[in-house]
C-alpha cells in the first residue's frame, strides 16, 4: 500500500503525533502504536478503540479542552491538542 505523506501533526498527552490528512485521531494514534487512549473513570482500566464507528464511546478523549469526544470519528486538524 502506498502511503501518502504524514502532513499533519497534533499532540496527545503532550507528545507530538503525525497523521495523514483525513485520518481520525484514533487511526493516527493506533498507526503510531499508541494503543491506550484513556483510563476508565471508575476502575482506572486502560481502554482503546472498540467499535471504531462512533457507537461505543470507548475511545473518548479531550480535544482542545472539550471532553468526551469520540476519537474514532474526529479527523485530525493541524495543531489539535488531544489528551486522555
Amino acid at each position: 500500500m502506498k502511503r501518502p505523506e504524514k502532513s499533519l501533526a497534533f499532540t496527545f498527552n503532550g507528545v507530538r503525533i503525525e497523521a495523514i490528512e483525513g485520518q481520525t485521531i484514533a487511526a493516527a494514534l493506533l498507526a503510531s502504536e499508541i494503543n491506550v487512549l484513556r483510563k476508565t473513570r471508575l476502575k482506572n482500566e486502560p481502554r482503546s478503540i472498540f467499535c471504531g464507528i462512533g457507537i461505543c464511546w470507548d475511545c473518548v478523549v479531550t480535544v482542545n479542552g472539550v471532553t468526551n469526544q469520540r476519537s474514532c470519528l474526529i479527523e485530525v486538524v493541524e495543531g489539535m491538542v488531544v489528551s486522555s
Binding site: M1, K2, P4, P46, R47, F50, C51, G54, I55
Partner: protein, 434 residues
C-alpha cells in the same frame, strides 16, 4: 423534499432513485465520507486497488456527487426528529452547529453496528469489533495489530479476516461459533441467490490461499493481554476482532413513533410494508435498519424506498430469503453467557459487572433490563446501552429463567436522543426560530 438519513448502500441508492424521478433530496450522514459501514474506502491518493463491490459503490458515489438534485450533508448528526402537520422536522448538528431540515418524506437508512458479546477480557485494549478492525484498515489504512484472532459468528467475519490478512496481518485463526453446514437446511436461500454461493466460494478460496484456518463451532472463552483461550488452550495474538451479527440503529425510528418488530433471531427492526414505508405515513426505512441482509439487499431496499417502484420487489424477495437463512444458520444462543465470570464487565461505560447485575436481581428485586439499569447504571453511560442493552436484558431474563418479551426487546432498541448535542447548541436553538 426527501430527506435521507444515512449514506450507506441503502441511503445512497435511495437518493439516486429519488433524484432520477426528479425529486429534491438531502442526504445526511454523520461521517465525513460516503459509503456507510461497509462501502468504506481509502481516498484516491492512496492509489490502492478497489474491492470487487466497488463498481456499484462508485456508480452511486459518482451520481450522488454530480446530481444537482442531491444535496449532501456530511459530518451531520440527526439528533432529534418530529412529525408536525404532514411535515417532518429533522434536527441536525452539522460540524457542531444545529440546523433544521424540513421534508415531506423521510427515508431512514441508519444501518447497523456489530453486536459484541462479552467474555472475560473483552474490555482489554486489543479486543475490538470486526467492524473496528475493518474500518481502521479500509478508511485509514491502519492495521491495528500484527497477529489477529477473529471470532464470533456470521459471514461478515470472512471479508474482515481476508482483508486483514491481505493487508499483511497474520490471522492465526477464525473461530466461527456456528457451522455453515446448516445452510443445507436452508438451501433455498442459497439457490435463489447464486451470487452468494459464488461469494462464499470466493472467500473459502481466499482463506485457503492466505493460510487462514477456520474453526467451526468454537467460541473464545477469555482474552488476556497476549492471547485468547479456546477449549482451554491458549492461542497467542495481539488483537482480537469479534462480531456476532448486527444491531440495527433504530433511535430515529423510535423517536418518530414507527412500529418496531422483533425478528426470528431476537433482533429488533423497523416494520415496513411492500414500499418500505413504516407505520408512519411518509416515513420509510431501508437497509439494515429493517433487517440484516447485506449490502445488496440494502441497495434494493433503498431503490424501492426512493422511488416506490414495484420493479425490484422480486429481487428484494430473493435477497430476503437469503437474509432469513442468515438468521437461521448463524443464530446467537444463550450459550455465550456461560463464558462470563462474576467479575466480567458487561457495561463498558459504567463498568458494571455480571455480579452487579445478579445482585440487582437477587437482592434489589430487578425484574427486567430497565430496573437492572436503574439499580446498577448498566446502559446509562456514554453509549446509552447501545453495546450492553440487549446483552444485559438477555442476562436478566436468563437469570430469572424466562424469555424476553417482544416489548422488552423493543425497549432496549429505543433511546430518546439519536445523537448527542452540546447544551450550548441545544439552548441556542431557542433563538433560531426553527
Amino acid at each position: 423534499m426527501i430527506a435521507i438519513v444515512g449514506a450507506g448502500p441503502a441511503g445512497l441508492s435511495a437518493a439516486v432513485a429519488a433524484a432520477k424521478l426528479g425529486q429534491q433530496v438531502i442526504l445526511i450522514d454523520s461521517s465525513p465520507r460516503l459509503g456507510g459501514q461497509y462501502w468504506r474506502h481509502l481516498p484516491s491518493n492512496w492509489g490502492v486497488g478497489r474491492p470487487p463491490y466497488f463498481a456499484k459503490a462508485q456508480e452511486l458515489f459518482d451520481e450522488v456527487l454530480s446530481n444537482p438534485l442531491i444535496t449532501r450533508f456530511s459530518n451531520a448528526h440527526v439528533w432529534q426528529a418530529e412529525k408536525k402537520a404532514e411535515q417532518f422536522n429533522l434536527y441536525v448538528v452539522r460540524n457542531g452547529v444545529e440546523e433544521i431540515v424540513k421534508a415531506e418524506k423521510v427515508i431512514l437508512a441508519t444501518g447497523a453496528y456489530d453486536r459484541a458479546l462479552p467474555f472475560p477480557g473483552w474490555d482489554l485494549p486489543g479486543v475490538m469489533t470486526a467492524g473496528a478492525a475493518q474500518s481502521m484498515l479500509k478508511s485509514h489504512g491502519v492495521l491495528v495489530g500484527k497477529k489477529f484472532v477473529i471470532a464470533g459468528t456470521g459471514p461478515f467475519l470472512l471479508p474482515v479476516a481476508t482483508g486483514l490478512a491481505a493487508a499483511g496481518a497474520e490471522v492465526v485463526g477464525l473461530y466461527e461459533a456456528n457451522n455453515p453446514l446448516r445452510w443445507i437446511l436452508n438451501l433455498h436461500g442459497l439457490i435463489l441467490n447464486p451470487s452468494k454461493i459464488r461469494e462464499g466460494i470466493y472467500f473459502l478460496k481466499k482463506l485457503r490461499s492466505l493460510g487462514i484456518k477456520v474453526h467451526y463451532g468454537k467460541e473464545i472463552q477469555s482474552a488476556v493481554s497476549d492471547g485468547v483461550l479456546v477449549d482451554g488452550k491458549k492461542i497467542e495474538c495481539d488483537t482480537v476482532a469479534i462480531g456476532s451479527g448486527f444491531v440495527p440503529e433504530l433511535s430515529l425510528a423510535g423517536i418518530l413513533g414507527a412500529k418496531l418488530k422483533v425478528g426470528a433471531d431476537g433482533t429488533v427492526v423497523v416494520d415496513v410494508d411492500q414500499n418500505q414505508q413504516t407505520s408512519i405515513p411518509g416515513l420509510y426505512a431501508a437497509g439494515e435498519s429493517t433487517g440484516i441482509g447485506g449490502s445488496s439487499l440494502a441497495v434494493l431496499e433503498g431503490e424501492i424506498a426512493g422511488s416506490t417502484r414495484k420493479g425490484k420487489r422480486l429481487a428484494r424477495w430473493r435477497a430476503q430469503v437469503f437474509a432469513t437463512g442468515l438468521q437461521r444458520v448463524y443464530p446467537v444462543s444463550n450459550k455465550w453467557q456461560s463464558a462470563l465470570t462474576p467479575q466480567t464487565i458487561l457495561c463498558r461505560c459504567e463498568e458494571v459487572s455480571l455480579a452487579d447485575i445478579h445482585g440487582a436481581i437477587d437482592e434489589l428485586g430487578a425484574q427486567d433490563g430497565r430496573s437492572a439499569k436503574l439499580f446498577t447504571r448498566a446502559g446509562m453511560g456514554l453509549c446509552q446501552g447501545r453495546v450492553c442493552g440487549r446483552n444485559v436484558s438477555e442476562i436478566v431474563a436468563c437469570h430469572l429463567s424466562r424469555d424476553l418479551t417482544a416489548e422488552e426487546r423493543i425497549n432496549t432498541a429505543q433511546r430518546p436522543l439519536a445523537a448527542p448535542i452540546s447544551l450550548g447548541e441545544l439552548g441556542d436553538g431557542l433563538e433560531k426560530n426553527f
